[in-house]
Symmetry: C2
Subunit: 98 residues, 2 copies
Protein backbone atom coordinates (compact mmCIF):
# COMPACT_ATOMS: atom_id res chain seq x y z
CA UNK A 1 0.00 0.00 0.00
CA UNK A 2 1.15 3.48 -0.87
CA UNK A 3 3.48 5.09 1.64
CA UNK A 4 3.40 8.47 -0.13
CA UNK A 5 2.15 11.30 1.99
CA UNK A 6 -1.37 12.35 1.06
CA UNK A 7 -2.15 15.94 0.19
CA UNK A 8 -4.71 17.92 2.13
CA UNK A 9 -7.52 17.22 -0.31
CA UNK A 10 -6.91 13.47 -0.24
CA UNK A 11 -6.80 13.57 3.56
CA UNK A 12 -10.10 15.42 3.69
CA UNK A 13 -11.66 12.85 1.37
CA UNK A 14 -10.30 9.98 3.45
CA UNK A 15 -11.67 11.56 6.63
CA UNK A 16 -15.15 11.49 5.14
CA UNK A 17 -16.95 8.45 6.39
CA UNK A 18 -14.23 7.58 8.89
CA UNK A 19 -16.32 7.56 12.04
CA UNK A 20 -14.90 8.87 15.28
CA UNK A 21 -11.41 9.89 14.16
CA UNK A 22 -10.07 13.42 14.54
CA UNK A 23 -7.50 15.04 12.30
CA UNK A 24 -4.73 16.76 14.26
CA UNK A 25 -4.49 20.52 13.89
CA UNK A 26 -1.24 20.17 11.93
CA UNK A 27 -2.84 17.63 9.60
CA UNK A 28 -0.07 15.10 10.26
CA UNK A 29 -1.93 12.47 12.29
CA UNK A 30 -5.36 11.14 13.18
CA UNK A 31 -6.57 10.04 16.60
CA UNK A 32 -9.47 8.19 18.14
CA UNK A 33 -10.38 7.03 21.62
CA UNK A 34 -12.22 3.73 21.94
CA UNK A 35 -14.16 2.64 25.03
CA UNK A 36 -15.16 -0.95 25.66
CA UNK A 37 -17.06 -2.73 28.41
CA UNK A 38 -13.99 -3.99 30.24
CA UNK A 39 -10.28 -4.75 29.91
CA UNK A 40 -10.87 -8.09 28.24
CA UNK A 41 -12.80 -6.49 25.38
CA UNK A 42 -10.31 -3.63 25.10
CA UNK A 43 -7.39 -6.03 24.83
CA UNK A 44 -9.22 -8.26 22.36
CA UNK A 45 -9.57 -5.17 20.17
CA UNK A 46 -5.88 -4.41 20.61
CA UNK A 47 -4.95 -7.94 19.64
CA UNK A 48 -6.91 -7.87 16.40
CA UNK A 49 -5.49 -4.42 15.66
CA UNK A 50 -1.96 -5.66 16.37
CA UNK A 51 -2.34 -8.49 13.88
CA UNK A 52 -3.57 -6.04 11.24
CA UNK A 53 -0.73 -3.65 12.05
CA UNK A 54 1.85 -6.36 11.66
CA UNK A 55 0.34 -7.51 8.37
CA UNK A 56 0.28 -3.95 7.03
CA UNK A 57 3.75 -3.33 8.49
CA UNK A 58 2.28 -0.16 9.90
CA UNK A 59 1.90 0.31 13.64
CA UNK A 60 -0.18 2.52 15.90
CA UNK A 61 0.91 4.73 18.76
CA UNK A 62 -1.55 3.76 21.44
CA UNK A 63 -2.26 3.62 25.13
CA UNK A 64 -4.62 1.56 27.22
CA UNK A 65 -6.12 2.22 30.63
CA UNK A 66 -8.52 -0.55 31.65
CA UNK A 67 -11.40 -0.34 29.16
CA UNK A 68 -10.16 2.58 27.07
CA UNK A 69 -7.74 2.58 24.15
CA UNK A 70 -6.42 5.85 22.69
CA UNK A 71 -4.86 5.57 19.25
CA UNK A 72 -2.82 7.96 17.10
CA UNK A 73 -1.88 7.06 13.55
CA UNK A 74 0.74 8.71 11.35
CA UNK A 75 3.34 7.54 8.86
CA UNK A 76 6.52 8.89 10.42
CA UNK A 77 8.84 8.13 7.49
CA UNK A 78 6.46 9.94 5.13
CA UNK A 79 6.17 12.91 7.47
CA UNK A 80 2.39 12.76 7.64
CA UNK A 81 -0.66 10.73 6.67
CA UNK A 82 -0.68 8.02 4.04
CA UNK A 83 -3.21 5.50 2.75
CA UNK A 84 -1.86 3.06 5.35
CA UNK A 85 -3.10 5.21 8.21
CA UNK A 86 -6.61 5.27 6.85
CA UNK A 87 -6.58 1.56 6.07
CA UNK A 88 -5.57 0.75 9.66
CA UNK A 89 -8.10 3.25 11.04
CA UNK A 90 -10.92 1.63 9.05
CA UNK A 91 -9.92 -1.82 10.26
CA UNK A 92 -9.78 -0.64 13.88
CA UNK A 93 -13.27 0.81 13.54
CA UNK A 94 -14.44 -2.54 12.22
CA UNK A 95 -12.81 -4.45 15.08
CA UNK A 96 -14.40 -2.07 17.57
CA UNK A 97 -17.74 -2.87 16.03
CA UNK A 98 -18.48 0.73 15.16
CA UNK B 1 -3.83 -10.59 47.07
CA UNK B 2 -3.87 -7.67 49.46
CA UNK B 3 -5.34 -4.47 48.10
CA UNK B 4 -4.29 -2.46 51.16
CA UNK B 5 -2.02 0.43 50.44
CA UNK B 6 1.57 -0.27 51.43
CA UNK B 7 3.43 2.07 53.74
CA UNK B 8 6.63 3.74 52.67
CA UNK B 9 8.85 1.15 54.32
CA UNK B 10 7.04 -1.75 52.67
CA UNK B 11 7.27 0.06 49.32
CA UNK B 12 11.01 0.57 49.75
CA UNK B 13 11.44 -3.11 50.57
CA UNK B 14 9.37 -4.13 47.54
CA UNK B 15 11.44 -1.87 45.28
CA UNK B 16 14.59 -3.72 46.32
CA UNK B 17 15.36 -6.30 43.71
CA UNK B 18 12.70 -5.05 41.32
CA UNK B 19 14.91 -4.36 38.33
CA UNK B 20 14.26 -1.39 36.11
CA UNK B 21 11.23 0.14 37.84
CA UNK B 22 11.16 3.69 39.16
CA UNK B 23 9.09 4.90 42.08
CA UNK B 24 7.21 8.12 41.32
CA UNK B 25 8.21 11.17 43.32
CA UNK B 26 4.88 11.10 45.17
CA UNK B 27 5.36 7.41 46.00
CA UNK B 28 1.97 6.52 44.53
CA UNK B 29 3.00 4.59 41.41
CA UNK B 30 5.87 2.73 39.76
CA UNK B 31 6.92 2.92 36.12
CA UNK B 32 9.14 1.11 33.69
CA UNK B 33 9.91 1.37 29.99
CA UNK B 34 10.57 -1.85 28.11
CA UNK B 35 12.29 -2.04 24.73
CA UNK B 36 12.09 -5.09 22.48
CA UNK B 37 13.50 -6.00 19.09
CA UNK B 38 10.34 -5.22 17.16
CA UNK B 39 6.58 -4.78 17.41
CA UNK B 40 5.89 -8.50 17.39
CA UNK B 41 8.00 -9.05 20.49
CA UNK B 42 6.59 -5.98 22.20
CA UNK B 43 3.03 -7.13 21.62
CA UNK B 44 3.81 -10.68 22.69
CA UNK B 45 4.99 -9.19 25.99
CA UNK B 46 1.80 -7.14 26.23
CA UNK B 47 -0.31 -10.22 25.60
CA UNK B 48 1.30 -12.23 28.38
CA UNK B 49 1.04 -9.21 30.67
CA UNK B 50 -2.63 -8.76 29.78
CA UNK B 51 -3.39 -12.37 30.71
CA UNK B 52 -1.64 -11.88 34.05
CA UNK B 53 -3.46 -8.58 34.62
CA UNK B 54 -6.82 -10.18 33.97
CA UNK B 55 -6.02 -13.06 36.28
CA UNK B 56 -4.90 -10.70 39.06
CA UNK B 57 -7.84 -8.40 38.29
CA UNK B 58 -5.29 -5.62 38.31
CA UNK B 59 -4.50 -3.71 35.14
CA UNK B 60 -1.63 -1.56 33.93
CA UNK B 61 -1.71 1.91 32.45
CA UNK B 62 0.50 1.46 29.42
CA UNK B 63 1.40 2.75 26.00
CA UNK B 64 3.12 1.16 23.03
CA UNK B 65 5.02 2.73 20.16
CA UNK B 66 6.45 0.07 17.82
CA UNK B 67 9.03 -1.80 19.91
CA UNK B 68 8.67 0.11 23.18
CA UNK B 69 6.15 -0.36 25.98
CA UNK B 70 5.87 2.16 28.83
CA UNK B 71 4.04 0.93 31.91
CA UNK B 72 2.74 2.64 35.05
CA UNK B 73 1.27 0.65 37.91
CA UNK B 74 -0.82 1.92 40.80
CA UNK B 75 -3.86 0.71 42.71
CA UNK B 76 -6.28 3.56 42.17
CA UNK B 77 -8.92 2.41 44.63
CA UNK B 78 -6.29 2.09 47.36
CA UNK B 79 -4.85 5.51 46.54
CA UNK B 80 -1.33 4.21 46.04
CA UNK B 81 0.79 1.09 45.76
CA UNK B 82 -0.28 -2.35 46.92
CA UNK B 83 1.15 -5.84 46.76
CA UNK B 84 -0.71 -6.29 43.47
CA UNK B 85 1.39 -3.66 41.75
CA UNK B 86 4.61 -5.36 42.74
CA UNK B 87 3.29 -8.79 41.79
CA UNK B 88 2.36 -7.55 38.31
CA UNK B 89 5.68 -5.70 37.98
CA UNK B 90 7.63 -8.85 38.81
CA UNK B 91 5.64 -10.86 36.29
CA UNK B 92 6.20 -8.26 33.59
CA UNK B 93 9.93 -8.33 34.26
CA UNK B 94 9.82 -12.09 33.87
CA UNK B 95 7.89 -11.90 30.59
CA UNK B 96 10.37 -9.34 29.30
CA UNK B 97 13.14 -11.78 30.06
CA UNK B 98 14.89 -9.40 32.41
Amino acid sequence: MARERLGRQAVDEAMTGLDGWTLAGDGLSISRGFTFRNFSEAFAFMTRSALAAEKLDHHPDWSNVYKTVDVTLSTHDAGGLTALDFELARRMNRYAGG
